[in-house]
């Protein structure tokens, strides 16, 4: 192997790894706060990517309508839950969150699809659409199940994954799509070419990791989220609304998922079902990070990306086998070092 290939593979691996790191971080976040293992994370990726590509191509994405529909359902759930105590401010908040927000975004994207707006506008709209979907999904699916076991939440999560994937096919068709790059500039350093898109990937990943770190370390909401993660009941007793924590977690996760999708759709062609596999690789990183540690997850994700890049060069047939069995030695190490297993409390 010569240095050029080595460097190229490393670069490729780090770019992919950065995306896996973002997804891994989101998975850790959601699991820690809500105990949901977020299988639909992959769908957030595809939805974000394909919504962005559609908007950029001047097509109206079906996801914007979906956001309105499930927003209405979520609002209905909220109304039903509040039927005994109808407080106007609470209703107004639910209305703003689940109805007004997606409707405004829908109107904006209808307008933007006609105008052929710059990539930045499509990006923001796509993020908003997927964020709204994530928020309402939490209300409909996971908030009513918040008290159940991790297994039930997991199965519900799979149900959401199936439904969203089916809808993805309906909205975007079976053909793959690519989106426009965010940054067209590029620079060459030695034999390596750094594209603007690659730089955007690195920059946004690092920004997000630092942002999450600041959010959890310094803000009250971040601390509330961490408190919910450690002890749900205790958090409620000191006045933290665990529902709000769940909403924030899902909002962040869906935004991060969509963003990851938007970052890679200019580099690789995405299909309606590609997200699942990408999400799973984020999982691998998250598991290596123990579903707890953010920095470890980020490092693990880079490793996953590099292993993937090298195995696709040397044994492309066995790329997926290698990536997924990478987990076995990690699990082995973890099981050797595992502390006494706690009992399930549900």
């Amino acid at each position: 192997m010569n240095t050029t290939i080595l460097l190229f593979l490393l670069q490729d691996g780090i770019t992919n790894g950065a995306i896996y790191a973002l997804l891994g971080l989101a998975l850790v976040l959601v699991f820690a706060v809500t105990r949901v293992i977020l299988i639909p994370q992959g769908e957030f990726v595809t939805y974000g990517a394909l919504t962005y590509a559609s908007l950029a191509a001047g097509r109206m994405p079906g996801t914007a309508k979906l956001a309105v529909v499930i927003g209405l359902v979520a609002f209905a759930f909220d109304l039903y839950a509040m039927r005994k105590t109808l407080h106007a401010p609470k209703i107004a908040r639910a209305f703003a969150l689940h109805v007004a927000f997606p409707v405004v975004v829908l109107l904006a994207s209808m307008w933007a699809a006609d105008q052929r707006m710059p990539a930045g506008v499509s990006l923001v709209l796509s993020l908003l659409i997927v964020a709204s979907i994530g928020l309402s999904l939490y209300r409909i699916v996971f908030q009513p199940l918040a008290h159940t076991s991790v297994l039930v939440l997991l199965i519900a999560s799979v149900g959401v994954h199936l439904a969203l994937q089916g809808l993805g096919l309906l909205f975007f068709g079976a053909e793959g799509q690519r989106g426009p790059t965010l940054l067209t500039a590029s620079a060459t350093l030695g034999s390596l070419r750094f594209t603007g898109q690659g730089m955007a990937v690195y920059g946004i990943t690092v920004a997000f990791i630092i942002g999450l770190w600041l959010f959890f370390g310094l803000t009250l909401y971040g601390k509330a989220l961490r408190a919910t993660a450690v002890n749900r009941l205790g958090a409620r007793l000191v006045g933290i609304r665990t529902t709000l924590s769940g909403q924030i977690a899902f909002l962040l996760a869906s935004t991060i998922g969509a963003l990851s999708g938007i970052l890679i759709v200019p580099i690789t062609t995405l299909y309606y079902d590609t997200g699942f596999l990408i999400g799973l690789k984020g999982f691998i990183a998250a598991i290596i990070g123990g579903l707890i540690s953010y920095p470890l997850t980020a490092v693990a994700a880079i490793v996953v990306g590099i292993v993937e890049a090298f195995s696709s060069f040397y044994a492309s047939n066995f790329k997926e086998v290698i990536v997924f069995t990478l987990l076995i030695p990690v699990l082995l190490l973890r099981s050797l070092a595992a502390p006494a297993v706690e009992e399930e409390k549900d």
Partner: protein, 589 residues
């Protein structure tokens, strides 16, 4: 035999179905698929619902079973009946290898780990040349008995459903046994079970292998049913779907697996054939609806449909009270009765910088009730954990009957005749009082998984249950014997723990706050019981906060404060000890 009637009736119905005149052949195909899926789900019931180990990888084990027979029978002409044990063996061996790596993982690691190797194996199936890559293996011979070839879905139906019924019977037998109780304690009470000699990792591996072998059996049948295999049905999607089946039906119930399989297979079929007609849509409409229905179902019945159904049945199965005249032989004791049963010598336990137990020494003599008291955080429960092997001491010696215990795990400590209760009650809430208490007698039985499955353990089992029933009567909970442990009051649950500890036939009983949550009369009864035990030759070491209770009962009292022993002596001496008064009431008092 009476409790088996529903199974017999179900078997007769299943056998009669193909002979119903006008039965559409397509329905038989559906029933075949239900049976195949039910086999895998049944394994998952044991693994996930009962044992608490969630696996997304079961489809890979189905693949091992299917590919083993496919390659051997289609390419090497081996008879399918010979490949059956081989298929099961290959799935079982794969489970041993993957299980050794994965079952020790806790909580969420495990499902994700299984998802990962499930995917890895799927890609392996689809890339290996000798498995035919993505095309798979075709030309698999049908099952045949003599000249009868099971070519059409109607004949292999009998093979599939015989396998389902036999597996269900064996699984139910397994759950209702000594090994079964150990498995059922995995999810909610394995720390307590380990204190009574159960090896949880071994029980976990056992259910893991059991579930894999059932999946392998399903794979073997599948290969000879479709007579061609390719990697698609063994991927992650299928693995997820098997888990669905179990959860929808009721993951804690053997028949939940069968019910779930029926619901999911029929639902998918209905959705696939009618939905496109109804909506004229394209794409995967059925997956959308399927996903939505699943979420709805989980919100309405999170424990699955089987318990929902059985709760609505007009009749309840009658519980059998064990015949208490059957005697369980006493635990083997070393000859002679030395005076010192337990010697704690300079025991120390540090958690980082915190010294929870600071060089504490005391002993417990034969026929003696010793109380360990002290304010909260004094290190009493930690001392208990050191004695029973739950925690290894940082330094110091603990010896039982003159033999150093060292770092022996709880399973070995209980063999020495030391049994305990827990400060925070550790019972399996969804098992009856009788079953919970019978876990205490675990080491006094010897039947393993195989003999339980084939009901060769009944004599052994009757003795264990009789002993459990005797101890329940002894502590005065005879009327609650068949209630679920979780339905009892906290005080009663503590008493159940004492009965369980007594099932060990111990020489030394360790009780951690046994009187907490008891009413006055119940405390008096407990005191009488403990005196009775002492008269019978047993020693008791107890932690307790109720001073009246302790002063009345104990022969000797050891007082701890901030991990350090500050006093030891008779109740009368302790009552007037200035150090003790200071520790309890503060310096100025």
């Amino acid at each position: 035999m009476r409790e088996r009637w529903p199974l017999v009736i179900f078997a007769v119905i299943v056998a009669a179905v193909p002979f119903i005149p006008g039965m559409p052949p397509f329905w038989i195909v559906l029933l075949d698929n239900i049976g195949l899926s039910a086999l895998v789900a049944m394994g998952l019931v044991l693994l996930t619902g009962v044992g608490g180990l969630t696996s997304f990888g079961q489809a890979a084990f189905v693949g091992f079973g299917a590919y083993t027979t496919a390659v051997l029978s289609a390419q090497y002409g081996v008879s399918p009946w010979l490949t059956l044990p081989l298929s099961l063996l290959v799935s079982g061996l794969a489970a041993v290898l993957l299980g050794l790596v994965t079952v020790r993982l806790s909580g969420h690691y495990l499902p994700l780990g299984t998802l990962a190797w499930g995917l890895g194996l799927y890609y392996l199936f689809s890339k290996l040349a000798f498995l035919g890559r993505n095309d798979g293996v075709s030309g698999i011979p049908p099952l045949s008995i003599g000249s009868l070839k099971m070519l059409d879905p109607g004949t292999i139906y009998f093979a599939i459903w015989a396998a389902v019924l036999i597996s269900a019977l064996l699984t139910m037998n397994l759950l209702d046994s000594r090994t079964g109780r150990a498995i059922r304690a995995l999810r909610r009470g394995h720390i307590a079970a380990e204190a009574f000699g159960v090896y949880s990792p071994r029980a976990k591996l056992l259910v893991f292998i059991y579930a894999a072998v059932l999946a392998g059996l399903s794979g073997w049948l599948y290969a000879h049913f479709t007579r061609a295999v390719n990697p698609t049905p063994f991927g992650a999607q299928a693995g997820i779907e098997y888990l669905f089946v179990a959860v929808v039906g009721g993951a804690g119930y053997v028949w939940g697996g069968v019910l779930g399989a029926a619901i999911v297979v029929v639902l998918k079929e209905v959705l696939q054939s009618y939905l496109p007609l109804l909506l004229h849509g394209e794409g995967q409409l059925e997956t959308i609806v399927f996903g939505i229905l699943l979420v709805t179902l989980l919100q309405l019945a999170p424990t699955g449909l089987w318990p929902w159904l059985t709760a609505r049945l007009p009749f309840k199965p009658a519980a059998k009270t064990p015949d208490t005249s059957i005697k369980l032989p006493a635990r083997e004791r070393s000859a002679g009765t030395p005076n010192v049963l337990l010697q704690v010598d300079n025991a120390r336990k540090q958690f980082g910088g915190v010294v929870a137990v600071n060089n504490v020494s005391f002993d417990v003599q034969a026929r003696e009730i010793v109380a360990l008291i002290g304010p909260n955080g004094a290190g009493k429960s930690t001392t208990f954990n050191l004695i029973t092997g739950v925690l290894p001491p940082t330094s110091g010696n603990i010896s039982v009957l003159g033999k150093a215990v060292g770092n022996a795990p709880p399973q070995d400590v209980v063999k020495l005749g030391i049994s305990r209760t827990f400060q925070h009650v550790k019972l399996v809430p969804d098992m009856t009082v009788l079953e919970n208490v019978a876990i205490g007698a675990h080491l006094r039985g010897h039947s393993g998984a195989l003999s339980s499955m084939f009901r060769l353990d009944r004599a052994d089992e009757a003795k264990l249950l009789a002993e459990a029933a005797r101890q329940i009567e002894r502590v005065g909970l005879g009327d609650q014997m068949h209630q679920l442990a979780g339905s009892l009051s906290l005080g009663q649950q503590r008493i159940v723990e004492i009965a369980r500890a007594l099932c060990v036939d111990p020489m030394l009983l360790l009780l951690d706050e046994p009187a907490a949550g008891l009413r006055h009369m119940e405390k008096q009864r407990l005191g009488a019981l403990l005196r009775d035990l002492r008269a019978g030759g047993m020693s008791v070491l107890l932690v307790e906060h109720d001073m009246g209770f302790v002063m009345d009962l104990a022969d000797r009292i050891v007082v701890l404060d901030f991990g350090t022993k500050i006093a030891e002596g008779t109740p009368a001496a302790i009552k007037t000890n200035p150090e003790v008064i200071k520790a309890y009431l503060g310096a100025t008092a």
